[in-house]
C-alpha cells in the first residue's frame, strides 16, 4: 500500500469503512502522524459516518410465530444441532483422541444407510422379491410332496386295489388253489386297510395307473395259469385232482403236481411279499404337522422360465440404477 498525495483519499475512505487490514490501518495512522495536514482530511471523512441510531419496530409481536406444542420438534432439532456442534468442538479440542475412536463414533451414523444400497434395492422391491421367493418355495414344496410321496403312495394303493380285483375275478373264473384263496384274503385285508387312506383326489388317477399295474397282475395271472395247468393233467378232472392234491400225503411221489403247487405257491407268495413291501415302504405325510421338517433336495426349472426370470431381475436392477442416476 502506497500512501501519497494521489492515493490518500481512497485509502482514507477504505480506512473509515474498516476495509483495511490491521497492519494497513497502522500504516495509515502512522502516515497521518507523520503528515498532520491530512488529519483534517481524515476528520472530514469520519464526519460523514452515520452514528448508531435505534429506531424500534413497533409490531414485532405481530410478526412472531406463536410457538405451540408442535414446536417441541423444533426445539429437539435445535438441541440436536447444538449437541452435534458441541461434540465436534470437544473432539477437535482434544488432540489425544485416537482416530479409531473418532471413526468408531462416525460408524454409527454410516451404518444407517448401508443395508441394501449397494444392490440398488428399495425396501418395497425387496419385499416383493421376498414374497416371490416364499411363493416359489411353497409351490416347490407342494409340487414335491404331490409328485414324490403322495403320488407313489396312491399308486401303490391303487395297484393293490387293482390286483385284488383281478384276483377276485380270477377266483370266479377258476377254482384256484387254497394258496390263491389265501392271497385273495390277504389282498382283500390289505385293500380294506389301505382303501381308507387313499385320498379321493387320487381315485381319478386310478384309470391312468391301471394300465401300468395290470401288467404286473397279468404276470401273476400267467404264472398262476401255468402252475394250474401243470397241476391239472386234464381239464375235466380239475375237482378230483384238487381233492387228490389236498388229500394226498405230503410224501406222495408225484413230482409234477407237487412241483407245480410249489411253484405256484412260491411265485404268488413272492408277489404278495413284494406288494406288502411296497406298501410298507411309503407313508402318508401329514403336511399340517408343525414338527415335521422337510428337506428339498433339488429344484427343477424350465430353461425358458429361468431365462425369463433372469431377464426380469436384470431389468429390475437396470431400473434401480436409472432411478439412482436420476
Amino acid at each position: 500500500m502506497q500512501l501519497n498525495e494521489s492515493t490518500y483519499e481512497t485509502i482514507f475512505l477504505l480506512y473509515i469503512d474498516k476495509e483495511l487490514s490491521p497492519k494497513e490501518g497502522l500504516e495509515v495512522e502512522q502516515f497521518i502522524a507523520d503528515n498532520p495536514k491530512y488529519a483534517l482530511e481524515m476528520e472530514a471523512l469520519k464526519a460523514t459516518l452515520l452514528s448508531a441510531e435505534n429506531i424500534p419496530y413497533a409490531f414485532k409481536e405481530n410478526l412472531k410465530h406463536q410457538l405451540d406444542a408442535t414446536s417441541l420438534e423444533d426445539q429437539e432439532k435445535d438441541w440436536n444441532q447444538t449437541y452435534a456442534t458441541n461434540l465436534k468442538a470437544d473432539m477437535d479440542s482434544i488432540p489425544s483422541l485416537s482416530t479409531s475412536f473418532k471413526n468408531a463414533l462416525k460408524k454409527e451414523v454410516a451404518t444407517e444407510g448401508i443395508i441394501l444400497k449397494p444392490f440398488g434395492f428399495s425396501q418395497q422391491k425387496f419385499s416383493y422379491v421376498a414374497i416371490a421367493v416364499c411363493l416359489m418355495v411353497f409351490l416347490g414344496y407342494q409340487q414335491l410332496t404331490k409328485s414324490s410321496v403322495l403320488d407313489l403312495t396312491a399308486t401303490n394303493l391303487i395297484s393293490a386295489n387293482t390286483k385284488t380285483e383281478q384276483l377276485s375275478n380270477k377266483n370266479t373264473n377258476s377254482n384256484a388253489s387254497n394258496v390263491e384263496t389265501g392271497l385273495i384274503n390277504k389282498a382283500s385285508k390289505t385293500f380294506a386297510k389301505t382303501n381308507a387312506l387313499v385320498p379321493k383326489i387320487y381315485q381319478e388317477q386310478k384309470l391312468s395307473k391301471e394300465a401300468v399295474d395290470t401288467k404286473k397282475v397279468q404276470r401273476i395271472h400267467i404264472i398262476q395259469k401255468e402252475s394250474i395247468a401243470m397241476a391239472e393233467p386234464t381239464p375235466d378232472n380239475r375237482s378230483l385232482n384238487q381233492t387228490v392234491i389236498t388229500k394226498l400225503p405230503s410224501n406222495y411221489n408225484n413230482p409234477i403236481n407237487i412241483n407245480a403247487a410249489v411253484i405256484a405257491t412260491a411265485s404268488i407268495d413272492s408277489e404278495t411279499l413284494e406288494v406288502e413291501k411296497e406298501l410298507t415302504s411309503y407313508e402318508v405325510i401329514d403336511t399340517e404337522d408343525p414338527n415335521r421338517t422337510i428337506f428339498i433336495a433339488n429344484f427343477e426349472i424350465d430353461g425358458n422360465k429361468l431365462r425369463g426370470l433372469k431377464r426380469r431381475v436384470t431389468s429390475l436392477f437396470k431400473n434401480n440404477k436409472s432411478e439412482r442416476n436420476k
Binding site: 475512505l13 473509515i16 464526519a47 405481530n62 410457538l67 435445535d78
Partner: protein, 162 residues
C-alpha cells in the same frame, strides 16, 4: 430454519430492517409494510433459509421491495427533515446529525442504501454487493462517491456553523 429461529430473527433483525427502510423511504407506514412483507417471505421460505443467512436474506428482500415501492410511487416521499431550516440545523452539534441525514437523503437511492448498510449494519463491501446485487468494486466506487458528496455538503455547512 425452525419456528424458534424465525422468532429469534424477528427479535434480532426487525429493528435493523425497519431502520434501513424507513431511513430510505422516510415513510413509516410503508416501511412497516415492507418489513412485514420481508418477514412474511422469510416465514414462507424458512425451510430453505439457513439461520446464519437470515439477516442477509431479510435485507435483500426488504431492499428489493423498497426499490419496487419507489418505482411504483415514482417519487421519493417528502421528509420532515427537508422542511427544517438550515439555519437551525447548524446551530448545535445535535443538529449536525440532522444535517448529515439531510445530506444523506439527497443522495440517490443506491448511494443512500450503501451508506445505510455500511454505517448502520456494518456490512462489508462483499456483503453489500450480495444484498444489492452489485459487484464489490461497484460498491466501493459508489460508496466512495457518496462519502465525498457528504463530505462536500458537510463542509458547506461547517463555515456557516462556525
Amino acid at each position: 430454519m425452525t419456528d424458534k429461529a424465525y422468532n429469534d430473527c424477528v427479535d434480532n433483525f426487525a429493528d435493523g430492517v425497519y431502520r434501513f427502510i424507513v431511513k430510505n423511504i422516510r415513510h413509516t407506514e410503508d416501511a412497516q409494510d415492507i418489513v412485514q412483507s420481508a418477514f412474511e417471505k422469510l416465514w414462507v421460505n424458512r425451510e430453505q433459509v439457513l439461520p446464519e443467512k437470515a439477516k442477509s436474506y431479510l435485507f435483500t428482500v426488504a431492499y428489493h421491495q423498497m426499490i419496487d415501492h419507489i418505482r411504483k410511487s415514482n417519487k421519493m416521499p417528502l421528509s420532515v427533515d427537508t422542511t427544517i431550516p438550515q439555519q437551525q440545523i447548524v446551530q448545535e452539534d445535535a443538529e449536525l446529525k440532522q444535517v448529515l441525514m439531510h445530506a444523506v437523503n439527497e443522495l440517490n437511492p443506491i448511494q443512500k442504501s450503501l451508506v445505510l448498510l455500511k454505517d448502520y449494519e456494518g456490512y462489508s463491501y462483499h456483503e453489500i454487493g450480495e444484498i444489492m446485487n452489485l459487484s464489490e468494486s461497484q460498491v466501493k466506487v459508489y460508496l466512495h462517491r457518496a462519502r465525498l458528496i457528504l463530505k462536500t455538503k458537510l463542509s458547506a455547512y461547517a463555515p456557516t456553523a462556525s
